[in-house]
Symmetry: D2
Subunit: 131 residues, 4 copies
């Protein structure tokens, strides 16, 4: 396993729904932020690669919802790499609240060109992801 | 005043927040949909003009929140034009629920080129908006 | 397999992101709407059961992203039941665009009480879901 | 003028739309966060007052959109109080990017009871807001 990245987020009203807890799709925004910060901490600027025609798109997600967070609480988005292949990366991401597990997820990124065809992950990114 | 366009929308969980009612920013999504449908009903394809380098951007909004909608309720987004100038359009949009007024808004669109500089609204669009 | 429910949705700017296509988490809003309409067509008012202390919460999702939708396009959310157990329901939901498959998903609902403990699905709902 | 509160936010994909910049309604989420942090820095826990039946609801907004932010950029949400009355508070909030002004807004909060009737702002909150 590679090193984990941790992002703290406070829950605001825009995260929640009328059930009183965070809306199930909004955790995916926190997970996006977690992956972006994982990359940023390793010097990977996904925006720069996008400008050059290399994109990472989410191809598959699997999310287990164990417990919920409420308005005003602080969650931690814990991001690590589960597996790197020629053209894909699987992230293992959890969301916790005071060490209670709320979410376990597996998110698969595929590296594609501007025609959305899978291509090899650039070596520079591969090496950085493995840090 | 020009003819009004009416769009019906049902409220889902993703519209609401932990206060039990629609989150204040989410009404702006309904208002966007109302303006798009107002244009579509008049044969204006804003996507096509965007591809040609003419965009409509929101420059100013004023919104009065009078009352709220809840999960499962149906709202009506009522859109009409308040004023058309050389390079801007002011929409008067209300949101109602069974004839109760929830929202009154004034939204100003400015017509810009790809460098975000104001330009004259194409005549074709001006004529269609006034229908 | 039980009868499918189909919901048509037009894509607006609020659905999309700077990648030019629908943001990956926003499809989950369309899937929520699909499940709600599946229930509504069978006379199930999930809001009423929530008031009585019986809730359906999403416990697990698995989503395959095959292709994307863009601003102005119309998608279809196709919802059917894959499996019903004592306290859970698995939905098989796809999103299509002119018969092209964009999304395949499996969404597990668990029936819980106000303390978020799993409880048996009320018979009235079970019978209606199987219609 | 009272003391300003400043909140830094990084822009992620979920903030943006297919126009390549932050979606106009999403800035209102940043403004919500700015007001919450303004209060939190002064020891006001709006969640606690909500539990006791005193709520602050947005009654009016006016927003000028001057310029936009893009994916990966960092914005500052600057929040201060413009005016406090018996039952309402007007916030003056700006959003800036490297000292460039993107957004100017005036947001009116009304203090209401659980029946959404305006009530006097509790003295404890009034004093804290004026810090």
């Amino acid at each position: 396993m590679f090193k984990e990245s941790v992002l703290e987020k406070k829950i605001y009203y825009h995260d929640t729904d009328a059930g009183g807890v965070v809306y199930y799709a909004n955790y995916l925004k926190h997970l996006e932020e977690g992956r972006t910060e994982y990359c940023a901490e390793r010097g990977i600027d996904t925006g720069k690669f996008a400008e050059e025609g290399t994109y990472f798109v989410v191809a598959h997600i699997e999310v287990d919802y164990k417990a919920s967070a409420r308005y005003g609480q602080t969650i931690k988005v814990n991001t690590q790499i589960e597996k790197i292949s020629r053209s894909s990366v699987v992230y293992l991401q959890t969301i916790t609240k005071e060490d209670k597990l709320l979410i376990i997820s597996h998110v698969t990124w595929v590296c594609v060109n501007s025609k959305f065809r899978p291509v090899s992950i650039p070596d520079e990114i591969k090496r950085a992801l493995e840090k």
